[in-house]
């Protein structure tokens, strides 16, 4: 059994190449099955094949067939502990474009569950999923937003907590504004109004979010009915002034201005109960959280290294397990043979006592050698220990 990884990622391959080898889940599973004992992890940033006992050249050939060209100098090939460590880093989001992004863990799970790998690949993927979960639980790497639009939604949640039922007014049909609205909607907010210079465009977007379309002239009345305002028009000046904002509200009003030049009068931010973030503020928040992610990534790397060490120990223990099993079987065989000699010479009660005592003696006698062999397994002498045990106890033939 040898764990091998052959793959390419955004670190080494340009998007023109990656898009040729990117497969959907079904196609990736089909490729893995066609190779044998394998799992194919294919996302927009990477296509990687984790295989056991398959010729590396065959795996590379399969990738080159997809790419339509030679992949020399682009693919990486890793084996055993290095391949496991790589997979653990991938599952933890440490190899991603944005460190700590959480989507990759779901993709690793989907790739693993789409096939039925053998014991080695199965073990390394199960451990990778556990590592990914552990990193997200024990570090704050995935808690911070990594884009302007997700930062806007996270800030709104910092004001309102749960965004379920919070009403949003989206001004303008710009791409970033739409993304911010989508992020808010994914957190449970209700995109109640979409306002635009042309009502037709507003209708289109409003239909998609299930809201009501408005023209820019109807903004002021709508403000009394919403909690969050997202603005991203291409207007040359402010579309909303401080005087338009209703006073003395019981709940805060959160304004997100993603437009350049800005859509929202800066005075709005000074009003009681109003919070205003423009594009520079959001970018500063993202930069700060990314710095935080990098700090958390260091902790995550420590956890991943710890797990890789555990994998190495497990892998090494596989070399001594047969020797341990044979030793115990041999001891048990001798015990049973000696017990058989007692047949008819002792009562049932005495026999049970003797069985119990001999079993305990055997267990106590073999406990320390078993532990020592497992400990030695992770050292370079592991195989020598196993050979010595086989030789000393005459287990070579078993």
């Amino acid at each position: 059994m040898t764990l091998t990884l052959v793959g390419l990622s955004h670190h080494v391959a340009p998007v023109e190449l990656r898009e040729r080898v990117t497969l959907d889940l079904e196609a990736a599973a089909a490729l893995a099955r066609s190779l044998g004992d394998a799992v194919c992890l294919s996302t927009c940033n990477r296509t990687e094949l984790y295989v056991d006992g398959i010729d590396e050249a065959a795996v590379l050939a399969a990738l080159e067939q997809l790419a339509g060209e030679s992949l020399d100098g682009v693919v990486y090939r890793l084996h055993e502990d290095a391949a496991a460590l790589h997979l653990f880093r991938v599952a933890a989001g440490l190899d991603s474009l944005v460190p700590g992004e959480g989507e990759i863990l779901g993709q690793v799970r989907a790739a693993y569950e789409s096939v039925e790998p053998g014991s080695l690949v199965d073990h390394v993927f199960r451990q990778a999923l556990a590592v990914g979960k552990r990193v997200r639980t024990e570090t704050a790497i995935g808690e911070s937003p990594a884009s302007v639009s997700s930062a806007a939604a996270a800030l709104a949640a910092q004001v309102f907590g749960d965004l379920s039922g919070r009403r949003v007014l989206l001004i303008g049909a710009g791409r970033i504004g739409e993304l911010a609205a989508s992020n808010l909607a994914s957190r449970g907010a209700d995109i109640a109004f979409v306002a635009n210079r042309t009502l037709e465009t507003a209708h289109e977007l409003a239909q998609r979010f299930g809201g009501r379309a408005l023209t820019l002239d109807d903004l002021a009345p709508a403000l009394g009915e919403v909690d969050v305002v997202v603005s991203s028009t291409s207007a040359p000046g402010p579309v909303l002034h401080a005087r338009d904002v209703p006073g003395r509200r019981r709940t805060p009003l959160f304004f997100i201005d993603i437009a350049v030049p800005r859509d929202l009068d800066a005075e709005i931010g000074r009003l009681d109960g109003c919070f205003l973030y423009d594009i520079d503020d959001l970018e500063a928040v993202v930069a700060e959280t990314l710095a935080g992610r990098r700090a958390e990534a260091e902790r995550a790397e420590e956890l991943v290294a710890e797990e890789a060490e555990r994998f190495r120990a497990w892998r090494a223990s596989l070399d001594v397990v047969p020797a341990i099993t044979s030793l115990r079987a041999r001891a048990e065989e001798i015990r049973n043979a000696e017990l058989a000699k007692l047949k008819g010479r002792v009562s049932d009660d005495e026999r049970r006592t003797i069985e119990s005592v001999t079993s305990q003696i055997l267990n106590k006698l073999l406990h320390l050698p078993t532990i020592r062999m497992k400990e030695a397994a992770v050292s370079p002498d592991g195989a020598a220990y196993a050979d010595a045990v086989r030789h000393l106890f005459g287990l070579e033939d078993e």
């Binding site: 949640a157 004001v159 805060p252």
Partner: protein, 253 residues
């Protein structure tokens, strides 16, 4: 006997006070709070078992009980990872007051008490529990003001050094006061009954405590929001401070 419980309690609170400073050690801090509070509970039980009457009648004894109520309220409302900074505000104060209570003799066993009357016991216990709740509410209100200021100023680290959302802080402040005010009301009623039995007139502490009741009563009746709510909660707490730290001695003697 009580020594056995005092030091683990102080150690737990002290550990929490320091461990809440970092997100990495906040889990250990939470365990410090839990273990410390259990040890203090055992300490109070030991004090109660060895006393002939209410054992926390002195100012130091009531401080001991007050700390137990504050930490207990924190355990119920705020002992969560997102409330780490609340722990950082509450636990150093709890550890310091607990130490002061010990220096004043409030954690000793076998203290002679003149508090045998049930109404007096109820009065002291309930008022202290209410004051503990108001202390926690004030900490929550202070956190609200700080977080609101950071949001207003558009602090770049707002999501990195993350506090609970404004809405949660506001709601928790309100709930804590909503639980504490009935306790204060019952405590004051018990005190009035006791005073009628014994006779005597209103002292300064009683006047301030009535003022506290009015402020928090107004808080619940008017249900203000935002900064106004936070300022009102802190205003009520200022009266609690006056009652506990400035006037408590005269009332107890």
């Amino acid at each position: 006997m009580v020594e056995v419980f005092f030091w683990p309690a102080l150690l737990g609170y002290g550990e929490a006070a320091f461990a809440y400073a970092s997100a990495r050690t906040s889990r250990a801090a939470t365990w410090g709070v839990r273990i410390g509070w259990l040890a203090q509970t055992a300490l109070l039980a030991a004090q109660a078992a060895g006393a002939d009457a209410f054992p926390w009648s002195s100012w130091a004894g009531s401080l001991n009980l007050f700390v137990w109520f504050v930490v207990g309220a924190y355990l119920i409302w705020g002992c969560r990872p997102r409330f780490r900074l609340l722990g950082l505000a509450v636990m150093p104060l709890a550890a310091a007051l607990f130490l002061v209570a010990r220096i004043g003799g409030g954690t000793a066993a076998g203290v002679k008490s003149g508090y045998g009357n049930v109404f007096l016991v109820l009065h002291v216990g309930l008022v202290l529990a209410a004051f503990a709740g108001f202390t926690l509410a004030a900490a929550l209100a202070a956190l609200y003001l700080w977080e609101e200021r950071r949001l207003k100023r558009r602090a770049a680290d707002i999501l990195r050094l993350r506090l609970p959302p404004l809405a949660s802080l506001e709601q928790l402040t309100w709930r804590t006061i909503a639980v504490s005010l009935p306790l204060l009301t019952l405590g004051l009623a018990a005190g009035v009954i006791r005073q009628r039995e014994r006779g005597g007139s209103l002292d300064a502490l009683e006047v301030v405590t009535l003022g506290t009741w009015l402020v928090y009563g107004g808080f619940l009746a008017l249900r203000p929001t935002g900064r106004r709510a936070a300022y009102l909660a802190l205003g009520g707490f200022a009266l609690v401070i006056i009652a506990r730290l400035v006037l408590a001695g005269s009332h107890f003697t």
